[in-house]
Symmetry: C2
Subunit: 322 residues, 2 copies
């Protein structure tokens, strides 16, 4: 297993999480097992399980509770990716064919549902009802956020407020749930739990903004998916919102998508305009602000090596190229 | 709220469950709320919540735990129906347009996911980790059973064993989970929990077989969906399996589905043949055997009015026309 080098201080724990993940997909049906292993093996960075483990290190944590939670969070995340790819009609994820592209809609729906259930069972293995509840609510937030996006599509122009709200639902809510639940399981004091939740929340916001920037400026090969994917799906993210603020003449966005002919060229040209504009720098500044806030949230926690990993992780996620 | 008259002894509890269900869908987003109310209001018989309540009556049950569980089970069931209709491409359920027919695939996936999450949160409100686990495992069984059906499609002819296995996964597992979890929450003794689980299991098997018979012999108006729906989706159920045993000459089933032209006529003619055959009587006998076993499972429990409702329910579900 390849882990990010900055996770070295929690290597042992992450290897145990990996074991739990593999145990969790050891199902009787060989076809289902193969599919689950394919999804698990397709190269996630395991950031969320790492957040659970790190957040549990500020008090007396019991690994027998922390490990199932870390595995549960990764499976929940994986389930949402499977359904997301289906919703978006994506055919590639991290350079590999998506489940829906490979095996169709029905299998993608059911495998996602199976993973939700497996994740819930692992969450129950923490033996903590509040943790199960945090977990269930994060999923509610994720789903209702995505539904709002579907309902709002084409209705009115997306605002920055809409964008930040959806970024919280989509990504930051699960980051925050991971650190909150990890801290709670360790029996940390309420202010420590809150500090760790705030860290996760801000880290997730910054992470998603960087993701959205990379969808304009990234390298297709490194990302394993085409540039401009969001725009192609009609999703307007921060770089474009900031670009439109300074270029009101590029106003009538829906027209980009409406006509089939020349659509791809119009999208490509918009991607190029945004990439070359100052909007990228402004979006980066927004991501930096969240990164700073995530680090500030944990400044009063004991200065352990784990806190250092969390500080380094915030910088790493800001600077990453994929 | 209209409840089955045989549920009269638990009317008060079922009305409180209904209140919980409505509270559970009181979400901020008005569009999502409207959708959830539409789904909840589309006429389920609330059999699973009734099973939870009834099974909790054999020991000291705390309604503050039982009610959220009963609501959770109904929401979980509803979530699986939403995804099922999408998988099957069904356009009608209980006479109303399905969510996928009305609002499309994306909304149906996300609303189903949202309901899973809401159900998990309600399950957590029981404050019982074992109950959450029973609940999560029932969902795993449902999903892996459906996946098996997808994987097996067109591979080899379905056997009766396959049918019974899938009937357990699809229906009996959640019936069994409902009675087991209800009993467990009440603090009933292990043999009582087991007896109630066995009741639920056998009741669910009989229920599903009757459902499958009605798909051949039922009244389209009463059912709110076309006759022969299973066959049209390529699902081979017990009446057809029994028919094929005595009519081996109608062997090459896949040919029915393969050619588009005249497909509907071939299906209709097969539905008529099965309906007029002795296979219906044989399938009914199978349903009766499960009904008898469900009643036998609880014969040693205290002869309360609740046990009587459970015995009556078994007979009612066998005799129902929809």
């Amino acid at each position: 297993m390849k882990i990010l080098s900055l996770f070295e201080p929690i290597r042992a724990e992450l290897e145990l999480v990996e074991e739990r993940l593999h145990q969790a997909v050891e199902v009787e049906d060989s076809q289902l097992r193969e599919i689950l292993l394919y999804i698990l093996g397709s190269g996630g960075k395991r950031i969320r399980p790492a957040l659970v483990v790190l957040a549990s290190k500020f008090h007396d944590s019991d690994m027998e509770q922390v490990l199932p939670l870390a595995a549960a969070v990764e499976l929940l995340h994986t389930a949402t990716l499977v359904h997301d790819d289906l919703l978006d009609g994506s055919v590639l994820r991290r350079g590999n064919p998506t489940l829906n592209a490979n095996l169709g809609t029905g299998v993608a729906i059911l495998v996602g549902d199976y993973l939700f259930a497996r994740a819930a069972d692992l969450a129950a293995a923490t033996d903590s009802v509040p943790v199960v509840s945090i977990f269930a609510r994060a999923l509610m937030t994720i789903c209702s956020g995505e539904l709002k996006q579907v309902f709002d599509q084409g209705r009115s122009r997306r605002t920055k407020e809409d964008y930040y709200q959806s970024t919280y639902s989509k990504t930051a809510s699960l980051f925050a749930a991971s650190t909150e639940a990890g801290a709670l399981l360790s029996g940390a004091s309420p202010p420590t739990v809150q500090a760790l939740r705030d860290y996760g929340h801000n880290l997730g916001m910054g992470f998603q903004i960087v993701d959205d920037i990379l969808d304009f400026t990234g390298d297709e090969k490194e990302l394993g998916k085409p540039i401009g994917s969001d725009l192609r799906q009609g999703t307007i993210t921060l770089p474009l919102l900031l670009f439109l603020e300074t270029h009101p003449e590029v106003g009538v966005l829906p027209s980009i998508f409406e006509e089939e002919q020349g659509r791809e060229e119009r999208i490509q040209s918009l991607v190029d305009m945004v990439s070359d504009s100052s909007a990228i720098g402004s979006a980066r500044e927004a991501a930096e602000r969240f990164t700073v806030e995530s680090k500030e949230a944990i400044q009063n926690l004991s200065p352990t090596e784990y806190r250092q990993v969390m500080l380094d992780l915030a910088d790493y996620l800001l600077e990453r190229r994929l």
